[in-house]
């Protein structure tokens, strides 16, 4: 080892508490990157593997008739088709306690030979016996049941019946049942018939044999199949082509992860700035040593390399701490994500590029950050280095702010001196302020976005003025039913609406949608309401709300908007037929899939269903969940007494819970990021305050020599810390507003296709202010004590 390397290691170990702090600052960033990327890489790989191993159908072709086995065989024999199966999906209901929840029933033709959308067997029966069903593992929680129990279910046309949960499967293509607040069951056609339904298989699922991930190719093949079945006398009303090979939540996850990765890199950059500040300070402190080294033969390059090596050692130590810990955290993270995405982690290997990126990021970013101060410090001339006597006073004298503050007469002399001290090293002050402001801004941004998210969720209630939505199996004349509902005490409004799945009609024989097999993700619905409605308070972003009950006008929400403009004509498929509409407005909905709103009067005339409704929406005077649950039960009982066939009854609180559950991981992770930011920010404050004081040890000695008491020195130091911290708060708040707008827009667009409203979290601000005040105070206490402990003689001889 070279002699100069001894100096590097001795310098590092001589001030290990400060260096440990620097190691921690880098380690936190590297840890964040590793935890997030590690978690992400495993989850992304497992998500794709899990999803693809279910052999998802390339397309689902929905028909109006039952599909014969012969037709399936005929499609299977078509060139370009690898697999074809018939299938049915029925939206039923299940009774859990006294409440009814939606239950999605997947009707399987042959459990033994099933080759598309195949769930994984876990336990119990592989093929459900008559009057029994297999259940998706995550649904057991919603059902509050276990395998072997019986569950009361009701299909659209049947009576409530008990069905045995005879086996458990895992279907990674479905969101967790508790997230959707619904159940998933797998039954045979005979069981469906036993439950009171008469329908057969009306969906044809196909898998293409070539280019399985090309949407265009799948469309061509699916249309070919549709054409074939049409020739055979079938009526195709929809072709569903979900994004090929992509899990329903894949896009969301990628976007969320990109935010966290950005945050992690920002933490690392903050940590690196801290290292840079510290290295700059060290070089200032050792400027005479640099001069001496240059005098005895060292050139600028050798000096620079020494300090870069010092940084490198800090980085390596940080990596040694951060990488193993980040792998542990990544494991916790991907297991959490797996629960949220209903995945089974089969291979938990974190790819090698993750630690490689950590190593590169954890070394390169800090080295880049210190490069400037190191180059500047190592290029100092020998004379300047040897003549250095500490902070230059020339700048202080001419500093605008220092002069201004020194003239504020009502401030105490100590406070004014503290303020002047803050401005003495402008570059250092800027860096400290930048570090604290960035940490604070990101801390507040994380909490602002989190609160904006909560507020947006609350808009579910302010936009939906109803508390219960009841979807009926058959359109019916509901005037007398609605009157009966209105007479229930506590019910304020009850309206009859109509709804229908739709698609943008391109004039083709069959409409193509992007709906996933769960019928929820990627769906598009048209809703017709009496005008004016008292049960919807839409946020109209452009144009106007529906006003003319007899006009062919629609208002599209942000998920349906696409490239349309106000006044455009749009053709929507309603009951399989193209219908023409004029777009009069665009709304911003929270928690709705693609939606087109129109007038009930016009819609019912168009569809020749005048007087009939397919959906009831009911509002209560008391909107609390407790009351809603009671009232829902009363309405359920009334509907049962009236023998109304209900396909789904969805309370608004259930919808809110479902949406909140979807993004729970994001909100939790944002909070975790905020904590990391706060940690780095506080570390930065502590480090820079210590360094500021260390540099002035000699000056403090002079002050002591001319009569300053320990209390005065302490006050001076603490005020300086508080003033710096205070200044940073203002910058942080401004920066947080900018960042919150950006991230709110990003996350909102991703989750709701609409930006989150800028929210300033007062509690976040208060927390940061408190943290800075306490942190500044705590950060200066030790250096202040240390400054007072050094004897005046020691301080004066300090170099």
């Amino acid at each position: 080892m070279k002699t100069r390397h001894n100096k590097i290691f001795r310098d590092l170990t001589s001030d290990y508490s400060k260096n440990l702090m620097l190691v921690l600052a880098i380690a936190i960033g590297v840890f964040g990157i590793g935890a997030i990327l590690g978690g992400y890489s495993v989850t992304k790989r497992e998500m794709t593997d899990n999803y693809l191993s279910t052999h998802p159908a390339s397309a689902t072709i929905e028909m109006e008739e039952d599909i014969s086995r012969g037709m399936v065989d005929s499609v299977k024999a078509m060139p370009g088709i690898a697999e074809a199966e018939r299938h049915a999906t029925v939206v039923a209901r299940m009774k859990v306690g006294e409440k009814w929840f939606p239950l999605l029933l997947f009707v399987i033709d042959d459990f033994k030979t099933k080759k598309t959308n195949t769930p994984f067997y876990i336990s119990g029966e592989r093929e459900p016996s008559p009057s029994a069903m297999l259940v998706e593992r995550t649904a057991l929680v919603v059902m509050k049941a276990k395998e072997g129990d019986e569950l009361e279910i009701k299909t659209p046309h049947g009576h409530p019946q008990k069905v045995k949960l005879s086996g458990t499967v895992h279907d990674p293509s479905l969101a967790p049942a508790w997230q959707e607040q619904s159940g998933y069951g797998y039954i045979s056609l005979s069981t469906l018939h036993a439950l009171g339904e008469t329908q057969g298989f009306d969906q044809l699922r196909i898998r293409v044999s070539e280019q399985p991930f090309s949407k265009e190719h799948i469309l061509v093949e699916a249309k070919g199949v549709a054409s074939r079945v049409t020739q055979k006398g079938y009526h195709v009303h929809e072709i569903q082509v979900p994004p090929p090979g992509k899990h329903p939540h894949q896009g969301q996850m990628t976007t969320v992860m990109s935010i966290f990765i950005t945050f992690s890199f920002l933490i690392l950059i903050l940590g690196s700035i801290l290292v840079s500040t510290s290295m700059a300070t060290l070089m200032v402190k050792q400027v005479r040593q640099i001069g001496v080294m240059k005098t005895i033969g060292a050139n600028s390059w050798q000096i620079g390399v020494m300090y870069l090596m010092m940084t490198l050692v800090l980085c390596i130590l940080a990596l040694l701490i951060a990488i193993p810990l980040s792998r542990l955290a990544a494991s916790v993270f991907y297991h959490q994500l797996a629960v949220l995405l209903n995945l089974e982690i089969r291979d938990n290997t974190i790819p090698n590029w993750v630690p490689l990126l950590q190593i590169i990021g954890g070394i390169v970013i800090p080295l880049i950050a210190v490069a400037f101060p190191v180059i500047r410090g190592s290029r100092v001339s020998v004379r300047t280095a040897l003549d250095n006597h500490g902070v230059l006073e020339k700048r202080t004298a001419t500093n605008f702010w220092a002069v201004r503050f020194s003239r504020i007469s009502f401030l105490s002399e100590t406070f004014r001196l503290s303020i002047r001290n803050v401005f003495r090293q402008r570059a250092r002050m800027m860096m400290t302020l930048g570090l604290l402001a960035a940490g604070g801004a990101m801390f507040m941004t994380a909490l602002n976005v989190s609160e904006a998210w909560d507020n947006n969720l609350k808009r579910i209630y302010s936009q939906r003025l109803y508390d219960l939505e009841v979807k009926l199996n058959q359109p019916l004349k509901a005037d007398s039913l609605l009157n009966k509902i209105r007479r229930i005490p506590g019910v304020t409004v009850a309206e009859g609406w109509s709804h229908s799945p739709t698609a943008i009609s391109k004039g083709e024989a069959t409409e193509v949608t992007q709906t996933y097999p769960d019928k929820g993700h990627g769906s598009f619905t048209i809703q017709a309401m009496p005008l004016p409605t008292r049960l919807l308070s839409p946020t109209v972003k452009e144009g106007r709300w529906l006003a003319n009950p007899d006009a062919a006008e629609v208002v599209l929400n942000q998920n349906a908007r696409g490239g349309y403009k106000l006044g455009d004509r749009i053709s929507l498929a309603v009951y399989g037929k193209p219908t023409a509409w004029t777009i009069v407005g665009f709304t911003e909905d929270v928690g709705s899939p693609a939606m087109a709103y129109t007038s009930y009067d016009y819609f019912s005339t168009l569809t020749q269903t005048q007087g009939q409704v397919s959906m009831l929406r009911i509002a209560y005077a008391d909107r609390s969940r407790q009351n809603a649950e009671l009232k829902n039960l009363e309405i359920e009982n009334l509907l049962q007494a009236e023998q109304i066939s209900v396909s789904a009854a969805i309370p608004v609180w259930l919808l809110q819970n479902a949406i909140a559950a979807h993004m729970k991981v994001m909100v939790n992770s944002l909070m975790a990021m905020a904590v990391l930011m706060a940690l780095v920010g506080t570390l930065g404050l502590t480090a820079t305050m210590s360094m500021n004081l260390l540099e002035r040890t000699r000056e403090i000695g002079v002050m002591r020599a001319i009569g300053a008491t320990p209390a005065t020195i302490r006050k001076l130091v603490v005020w300086e810390g508080l003033f710096t911290g205070g200044l940073s708060i203002f910058i942080a708040i401004v920066l947080a507003l900018v960042l919150s707008t950006f991230f709110g827009r990003f996350i909102g667009n991703m989750a709701f296709r609409t930006p989150l409203t800028l929210t300033v979290s007062v509690s976040a601000m208060a927390m940061w202010v408190a943290l800075i005040i306490i942190g500044s105070y705590a950060a200066t206490l030790y250096p202040a004590r240390r400054a007072n402990q050094i004897t005046t003689r020691e301080a004066l001889s300090y170099e």
Partner: protein, 234 residues
């Protein structure tokens, strides 16, 4: 070139040095010409602020003249680029400071080995034994593994001299090397410098000490940036 110049190691020709100050330029040296032959113990004397340290810095290449040239063994020092100057200085000039300036986190032995490391002047395996022999020469070999803070002022200055000799430079310059030492220790340091000149090295010392004038073969007195007296002993 005359006979005197051809023998000389150091030659300053019409050297001026000024420093910009807020109140105007400060002229530390004014048109100084000087020739110092090799193998002498040279004293530069003068009051505080007279320009003696500036003169020393110019000879060591620590500073560059505003006007004129500084030639050491035929090398025009002010024309060397910074990195070449550092290596040249490391190999040709040993510097001793008033406050010793040993690196506090390195042992005495490591401090002495450091110049050899920077200049890559001796094979790695030889550096330790050379450093130890230099420490033995200055009389503090037994202190080799101690940190500077554990040594007395005199011992630290001896260590600094050993460090200055590490690369076996032909010239040693010292800025008030005894200014921080008691008279007895100062005397032993001057003895050490004298022995170096006997070994053929040129030693230039900035000093206020009048008690050690018998050591010097060449005394240059400076006042207000000009050489006011130059005494050369045989």
């Amino acid at each position: 070139m005359n006979h005197e110049q051809s023998k000389s190691q150091i030659q300053l020709t019409r050297v001026s040095k000024s420093f910009p100050l807020a109140s105007g330029d400060f002229h530390a040296l004014k048109n100084v010409s000087l020739t110092i032959p090799s193998g002498k113990l040279v004293a530069i004397t003068g009051k505080s602020g007279s320009g003696k340290s500036t003169l020393l810095n110019l000879i060591a290449g620590i500073d560059k003249p505003t006007e004129g040239s500084v030639s050491i063994n035929g090398v025009q020092v002010e024309k060397l680029p910074e990195s070449a100057l550092a290596t040249w200085r490391g190999k040709n000039i040993g510097v001793v400071f008033q406050f010793f300036q040993l690196l506090p986190t390195l042992t005495i032995l490591e401090n002495v080995m450091l110049p050899m490391d920077f200049c890559n002047s001796y094979p790695k395996k030889e550096r330790k034994s050379r450093a130890l022999s230099l420490l033995e020469m200055v009389g503090i070999k037994e202190q080799a593994d101690k940190l500077p803070s554990e040594l007395s002022g005199g011992q630290q200055q001896r260590a600094a001299i050993a460090r200055a000799l590490a690369n076996d430079p032909p010239m040693i310059i010292a800025d008030e090397p005894t200014g921080n030492l008691d008279s007895q220790t100062a005397s032993s340091i001057f003895d050490l410098f004298a022995s170096l000149t006997r070994a053929g090295k040129t030693v230039i010392i900035v000093t206020h000490e009048r008690d050690f004038s018998e050591y010097f073969g060449h005394v240059i007195a400076i006042a207000d940036g000009e050489i006011v007296k130059e005494v050369i002993h045989a």
